[in-house]
Amino acid sequence: MNIEHLIHMANQIGSYFAAEPDPADARAGIADHIARFWEKRMRQSLYAGLDSGEASALAPLVSEALAEHRERLLGRAA
């Protein structure tokens, strides 16, 4: 999957949840949205990009959310 599109989409999700006053809520909101709406190929490709350093354009809040909720977002794919 096109990693740039995925990063762009993830960052857009991040910018919606960035308004949450508590960053933990924001990270949980981002992860929950991705879990509920992204197909497994998309989640896997995004993490592959993250792990290989191709996803440096991810907003910090989104990277943090992905790191924190890695198991939930990839675990279901296993």
Binding site: N2, P21, R36, E39
Partner: protein, 953 residues
């Protein structure tokens, strides 16, 4: 005059708690106060002769055929304009009345051609009926001055006006004003010389007439008559069905001779339309039998090969074998489907069932992705249900209407007419739209505020309105305390009260003066019932979902939800957008908007469908395109959609389609998508099948078969054959059995059945044990999710910004006479009103570029370039240009980008940064498109010339 036996009681029914009892010909009758004698008599079974009165219009009292006598009153009052009074004693027949009526008829007939035998209204003419009713036997002044030689106006493609047959009853004039709200007709002159004229032109076609046909339906004679009736004669039978165009979902009576459709007449008892329709539903049905229909299945190996006509068995077996081959080679997830908002609920349900149960994946999406997916998301999150909160009739109780990013008089014409009725009664209107839509200033309607915002700044605007509500103490505290989650509200209140959301802080962004925003917010929050209506101008943005949430927040904060006259009302685009979403067309949801990971729901479906179901969300349309290009998505079944024309960034879409190994298109025509297909399965039009559509007010209405499918099978039967060929058995004998399964599986449909729909006409879901006859207004005592949930709506500017290279913003929309990608309306006479897509731009922008009216202009964006003809228009604001996307060769979507809504990937059609230049020739894309289309048409020709045979591909 329609064939359907609707008992016309002469004047509109009245609603009143006060009851009046009177006697009519010695019979006692009790009716609501305000009722006419004519109507009361009809209730008592006495049909007083009448000509100028009809139930759909206010009485006018001009023909004097309806005269009666009232005890202790002098003279002979007209019963249509005289209201009932307590104790009144009315006589409808005696010698004096008989003579009076006969005299009236004699005068009418003396100026009327006596060609009844050859007249198109023969057998269905009120004048003829009344002449018989009053016992007219001779006409004494037949040779006097008359209008019999006047020429007919045949300019409108669908109906004629023959002044020789006009009795100047003014029903048409009143219908155009009262029902349609266009006020295109007038009565010219007075007395004997008086005639009907269409204003603003020399004939009907060049006038302000929008061809809704209300005047034709109201005309008691053959003066206004459908051309199809003139050509074919009077219909013999009538079948009630539902319009297959827009989300209003008008109920129409298809009037037929055998299987031949003669005309469509709106059904007076239709819950959505109450007897009205528009130019599309009433007249533009000729596409259904157009010569371009493909009625034989076809297959081919590559898109550069000629099509081969094959039998149904072969086409289905080939498709099944291809899909299984792809799944074996590339994995189960390598195939998917797209359901159609133009197909029935039953058909959509079957396609998603095929995908989930037979393909074993959740890769199913629908064209609602590109229009109202943010509505589904935003309303579900805040209110708990992915649907509008009201019925259409609710608008008649609204005191102030906030209309955002919708153009109902073009996009949802029958609802637009209804809204205009309410506005003429005095409701206030606030329009938020970059463009001056008709409702901003139209006969007898003027918006109190037109918030002419910049495209892409909706969220900043809704935040500013909410900020005023919160900071000026306009919150309905009692409602919020009782009905909404307190913590979420407190968080939102703090958020929205921040000065960064104030009108003053955001006017720079939105371009709307702060004072105007404040005044509009106050008007909405303080004028009784406030109702919000919105369209694709809300959803088709990178913040579409945020905006829907913002709208729900505003409605909750002001207590404008949960009763008639208020609410949040999405105006859906296509006829069955609501239905296709309800039926589980989204890749993350099973029917009834329940997430695929929800174990309880999945278990229920697994037990009924007898297969394990995936708990993983599938691919959305744009994700399918990306996956196709990256090589992991290979096969797609598209029912009744034209993604190659309707989806944004055409270059990207066609690249994706070309990457597929098996694209199966089921459609009426070889549409743009089918030009990339390997299998073509002929579709059936809405006239050829049974089913249901669900309109924008959640109203489920029956679609009824009026003719046999031209290609042998209804669409649901084809899906069923494919499923059986894939080894997953489906054995429905009739769509009613599919509905029974839907009712079993969806709690909001538990009470729905064909028997009930036949009995009630239509029903609005939720329809179940607690609401057996449906639910016109939702969220009355509590929200579907329990407590309403306020959510934060930070404004995030779209990335699609103007710069030096692309200094203008392009926004897109549609017009009345054409529909969506135009596959249907382009194949009707509606093209006289819109022969091509044009680019509207402001005079200042035109002058800066040396562009004159009618010039060819190139429209360039970062996605691509196309060429359109320019129309210079003050409707636009400087810096904003506008076009429609009804013609494939216009390439509007070559220019739009794949920017999309953050939550749902609904494309940002409404904002594209562009440059406009004068050009002399079509764009490179358009030339390629022409070449490709010609090639594909010649590959099609090869197949239609060869007879269906056993081809081997």
């Amino acid at each position: 005059m329609s064939l359907h036996c609707h008992h016309d009681r002469g004047t509109p029914a009245r609603v009143s708690t006060e009851r009046v009892t009177l006697s009519i010909d010695g019979m006692s009758v009790t009716v609501p106060a305000g009722t006419s004698i004519l109507h009361a008599a009809a209730e008592a079974g006495v049909d007083i002769p009448k000509l100028c009165a009809t139930e759909s219009l206010e009485a006018f009292g001009s023909c004097r055929l309806c005269v009666v006598q009232v005890k202790n009153r002098r003279g002979y009052p007209a019963s249509c304009t005289t209201l009932v009074e307590e104790g009144m004693e009315v006589t409808t027949e005696n010698d004096a009345l008989f003579r009076l009526r006969r005299g009236v008829m004699e005068l009418y007939i003396s100026d009327h051609p006596l060609d009844c035998l050859t007249c198109s209204a023969n057998g269905n003419c009120e004048l003829q009926d009344m002449a018989g009713r009053v016992g007219l036997r001779e006409v004494r002044y037949a040779d006097g001055h008359n209008h019999l030689a006047e020429a007919a106006d045949a300019s409108n493609p669908y109906f004629n006006y023959d002044p020789a047959k006009c009795i100047v009853c003014s029903r048409c004039v009143r219908a155009c004003g009262e029902v349609q709200g266009t006020f295109a007709l007038t009565t010219t002159e007075r007395g004997f010389d008086s005639r009907i004229a269409a204003a603003g032109g020399t004939d009907f076609l060049s006038s302000e007439c929008v061809s809704c046909g209300a005047c034709v339906a109201a005309c008691p004679t053959a003066a206004l008559m459908e051309k199809s009736v003139i050509e074919l004669g009077q219909p013999q039978r009538s079948v009630t069905t539902t319009c297959a165009y827009c989300g209003v979902g008008c109920s129409l009576n298809a009037e037929l001779q055998g299987e031949k459709l003669v005309r469509m007449v709106p059904d007076p008892s239709g819950g959505a339309n109450h007897g009205h329709a528009c130019v599309k539903g009433r007249f533009a049905w000729g596409y259904a039998t157009h010569a371009d229909r493909i009625t034989t299945p076809m297959i081919r190996k590559s898109i550069r090969d000629p099509w081969q006509a094959v039998s149904w068995e072969e086409a289905i077996a080939h498709t099944a074998a291809e899909f299984r081959r792809l799944q074996e080679k590339h994995g189960a997830e390598s195939i998917g489907s797209i359901t159609s908002s133009r197909c029935t609920n039953e058909e959509t349900f079957l396609v998603q069932k095929l995908t989930r149960a037979a393909f074993g994946v959740n890769n199913v999406d629908t064209c609602a992705r590109v229009c109202h997916s943010p509505t589904g998301y935003g309303l579900k999150q805040t209110l708990g249900e992915s649907a509008g909160t009201q019925d259409f009739d609710s608008v008649m109780q609204a005191d102030v209407i906030l209309l955002i990013g919708a153009n109902p008089t073009d996009g949802h014409p029958v609802f637009g007419s209804r809204m205009k009725q309410r506005l003429r009664q005095g409701a206030k209107l606030i329009v938020a739209d970059p463009r001056a839509i008709d409702l901003v200033d139209t006969p007898h309607v003027r918006a109190a505020h037109h918030l002419k915002l910049r495209p892409g700044t909706n969220v900043a605007l809704i935040n500013a309105l909410a900020h005023v509500v919160v900071s000026e103490g306009l919150v309905d505290e009692a409602f919020v305390a009782l009905r909404c989650e307190p913590e979420a509200f407190a968080k939102w209140r703090t958020f929205i009260a921040d000065p960064r959301h104030s009108p003053e802080a955001t006017e720079e962004v939105t371009g709307v003066p702060a004072a105007e925003m404040r005044a509009a917010a106050r008007l909405y929050a303080t004028t009784g019932n406030g109702a919000i209506y919105y369209g694709l101008g809300v959803t088709e943005h990178s913040q579409g979902s945020t905006m829907v949430i913002g709208i729900a927040n505003l409605a909750m904060a002001t207590g404008n939800i949960g009763r008639p006259g208020v609410g949040v009302n999405p105006l859906r685009g296509q006829n069955n957008v609501q239905g296709s979403c309800d039926m589980g067309s989204f890749p993350h949801e099973l029917p009834g908007y329940r997430h695929v990971s929800d174990v309880e729901t999945r278990t229920l479906f697994e037990s009924v469908w007898g297969v394990p179901l995936s708990d993983e969300p599938g691919l959305r349309i744009p994700n399918m395109f990306d996956a196709a290009i990256s090589g992991s998505f290979k096969g797609l079944y598209v029912q009744g959609e034209d993604i190659a024309q309707s989806d944004p960034n055409t270059h990207h879409v066609t690249a994706a389609l070309e990457s597929l190994e098996c694209l199966v298109v089921q459609d009426l025509f070889l549409n743009e998508t089918a030009k990339f297909a390997h299998v073509f399965l002929p579709g059936a039009s809405f006239l050829e099948k049974d089913g249901t559509f669900t309109n924008a007010e959640r109203r489920i209405s029956r679609v009824r078969k009026v003719m046999r499918p031209l290609a042998e099978y209804a669409d649901w039967e084809v899906t069923q054959m494919l499923s059986n060929a894939l080894g997953y058995p489906m054995n429905y004998r009739h769509p009613s059995e599919i509905m029974d399964e839907i009712a079993r599986l969806m709690p909001t449909f538990h009470g729905v059945s064909y028997e009930k729909l036949d009995r009630l006409g239509s029903v609005q879901w939720p329809c179940n044990e607690t609401h057996p006859e449906g639910t016109p207004t939702m969220h009355i005592d509590e929200f579907v999710r329990g407590k309403g949930r306020f959510m934060l709506t930070e404004y995030v500017a779209t990335e699609e910004r103007v710069n030096r290279r692309f200094p203008l913003l392009l926004t897109t929309g549609r017009i009345l006479s054409q529909y969506n990608v135009g596959a249907q309306t382009r194949r009707t006479a509606n093209t006289v009103w819109h022969p091509e897509d044009i680019l509207e731009l402001h005079p200042v922008d035109a002058e800066d570029r040396g562009i004159r009216e009618g010039d060819w202009v190139g429209v360039q964006s970062r996605a691509g370039e196309t060429v359109l003809r320019a129309k210079i228009s003050e409707r636009m604001q400087p810096g904003v240009v506008y076009t429609t996307f009804h013609w494939p060769g216009s390439g509007a979507n070559v220019v739009t980008t794949e920017n999309s809504d953050w939550a749902t990937n609904c494309p940002e059609y409404k904002v594209t940064a562009v440059q406009i230049t004068r050009v002399e020739q079509p764009s490179v894309w358009q030339k390629q498109f022409e070449r490709f289309s010609e090639e594909q048409m010649s590959l099609l020709k090869a197949s239609t010339e060869a007879k269906p045979a056993h081809a081997s591909v």
